[in-house]
Subunit: 227 residues, 4 copies
């Protein structure tokens, strides 16, 4: 766990949107909520269109149909928007697919487990193209910005959870490393999948599954339904 996720994952219990303006515990007003949603949708749109680095707060405000001042009433900067957006996406993912990305009951074969997980992730990513932009984050080597660090840490956590049940005997460091590798494979695959359509896209999805299955297969012990 050399350098990833220094800040740990956010405490899932408390309402995330509190964080940005923690100092004034105002009552959350419905209109403000709507504004935030509106802004995040606009941000998603802009991130998808221009990429995170090139996205400008002015452009986001314009896309949302509000003034730049309004944007800054809810978010202190672009970073914060990305963070909030990422958190909401993770939430939605959780809401949609349940707490566990994969239930991994021991009776599930690796193939099925991976297949299901990839299908779900892919479905979600296809439906929420921003996710890709946020996952890849800015151009910068090292993945500097907090937004992506946070999202990445969350995702790594979920993959670790999944792997932990698949590789009960692996050390934490191994699980973490494997999680990074799996997530890396997935991200690389996602890029290819999004770059193609139709049959070719389907083929790439299968490739991703194959890569992951073949990679993990020698690691998982004697699971039932071994591939």
């Amino acid at each position: 766990m050399s350098d990833t996720s220094e800040k740990g994952r956010p405490e899932k219990g408390q309402p995330e949107k509190e964080r940005a303006e923690k100092e004034q515990p105002r009552r959350r007003q419905a209109r403000g909520e709507r504004r935030i949603t509106q802004l995040l949708e606009a941000a998603a749109q802009v991130f998808c269109t221009t990429g995170y680095t090139a996205a400008s707060t002015n452009a986001i405000a314009r896309e949302a149909g509000v003034s730049p001042g309004t944007l800054y009433q809810f978010f202190p900067n672009k970073e914060a928007i990305a963070i909030e957006l990422g958190e909401r996406l993770v939430h939605e993912m959780r809401d949609t697919y349940g707490e566990a990305l994969a239930p991994v009951d021991p009776a599930t074969s690796l193939k099925d487990a991976v297949g299901t997980a990839v299908d779900r992730f892919m479905a979600f990513n296809t439906e929420h193209p921003v996710f890709f932009a946020l996952m890849h984050g800015p151009d910068m080597p090292g993945g500097i910005t907090e937004a992506h660090d946070q999202l990445h840490a969350t995702l790594i956590g979920r993959v670790e959870d999944l792997l932990a049940s698949l590789l009960p005997e692996a050390s934490a460091a191994d699980v973490t490393r494997t999680a990074h590798v799996c997530l890396g494979i997935y991200k690389a695959g996602l890029e290819l999948v999004l770059a193609h359509e139709g049959a070719e896209r389907t083929a790439y999805i299968q490739e991703v599954k194959d890569v992951l299955i073949r990679y993990l297969d020698p690691m998982v012990g004697d699971r039932l339904g071994r591939t």
Copy 2:
């Protein structure tokens, strides 16, 4: 080796319309050649530090210790710098490791072939961190710039060549798809490798090899020395 071919190739064959005087030629170009190298090194530095998208031509010029005007005497824009940089890197790679990324004589086991290829690539990429920045290209989804397209195409080509000899029976489309997947895996792995050091880095390198070997293994036919 840092600044390649300072004066090694005095006239590099480009038509230099010398009209009458032919006795006191060159030397003019030498300063420029040096500047170009210098600028490309500065660009490499800046691309590594800030990423391609955020890199500014002014920053590159500053890093190179020249005025912005000087930069534009040699490159029409950032894109051109990236392209030239990519080309020089590819050339250097070829010069260093020979035309073939891997010898792929049929007696080589997949494991050795992949191991050698990954080791070489990793060594090169570790020594030239820009390569990573150029490979990943700008933040922008889809759009991508010519610089990265070009580099990517070149790399895909090389991987295809390698795969073609490993998978003689595969269709062109399959080879291409597999090449994309392999390159994607490699890029993702490289990111992880560069993000770690020491033993952990070594471990990640091994993971990349494992992923590739296990992915390709079922595809390659009955090669000698099958893993």
Copy 3:
């Protein structure tokens, strides 16, 4: 009169998407309106001093005492400034001298019609030296910019209207050609007029009238009060 319509026309009819609150409106726009006027005046000044081509948006902003960013909040580029400036000038001209540049009732002699028209134009142009800069447009041959095209078209239109009543039997093409010639004469004359002062200026104004009258005289039919 120098800065037209500061708050004279509070809402100038443009749809101002006020969403729910309608009680404490405007005032926002007021500052902007003022800035626009201020910027246009600065632009007029700069266009007069340096000419349109050499005028820089930064210089205009500086002259207006605002930052370049502010200028761009109201105008997307120099062209747009020139267009708006031209339109306001035309409006002011119309407001000042009425819809018809000349009354041209048949009882008016050509001499009087031309004399009045030239006097009015000259008075206006003398008071608004930018007009000259805008009329002549940029240096570039052929190309011309939209700003000047528009202004020129408007002026040609007005001259055509005037000529149409003077030359009721002329074809449209002839009227257009004559209008171009008249406007050309006027512009050339204006340049001379503005380049001189006092008696000499007066003399040049008379020359312009003479040129136009003598040019048109053979064309106009049997008007009353023929010269």
Copy 4:
């Protein structure tokens, strides 16, 4: 003679090209001559294409196929190029059409005198499109640059010569003023002529003649062949 031609016309006797590098009376070398011609042709091209203001010395050098340094070996700046170009054009005009733009022997009718002069000017201008660019000079009001002042003064001088013989009784001031008016009319007309083609162009040429003839007719005394 309020403000035009402060510097008077260049002394026609001495070779014009001497002026730019008057300090070293080197022997004029054939190669240098060729270079100058080459540069002036390139400048003509560029002035025509982009206009005087927008023309850059670098562009001229590029067009001439020489380096910027070479250009500055012959001309101290853009201005000097324009001046030299203007002088050469005037020379060529003189060489082509003789010293007098119009001999104006008293037997010539005004119509013929003007017709011939306009035809010659138009022919020359059509063949040398730069002339137009130089005549109109930069965008700047006031016609600041020396190049255009000089060319303008020369042209005014020639028109004055012509008018002097047509209006023997006019005062110098009147002749000068009339010359300015005539040249202004011509320039305005030229713009229209160059903007059209074919029959319409021919029509505009006729208009220019008509304007001038009708303007001058009342001024010329009882010449033979009065229109």
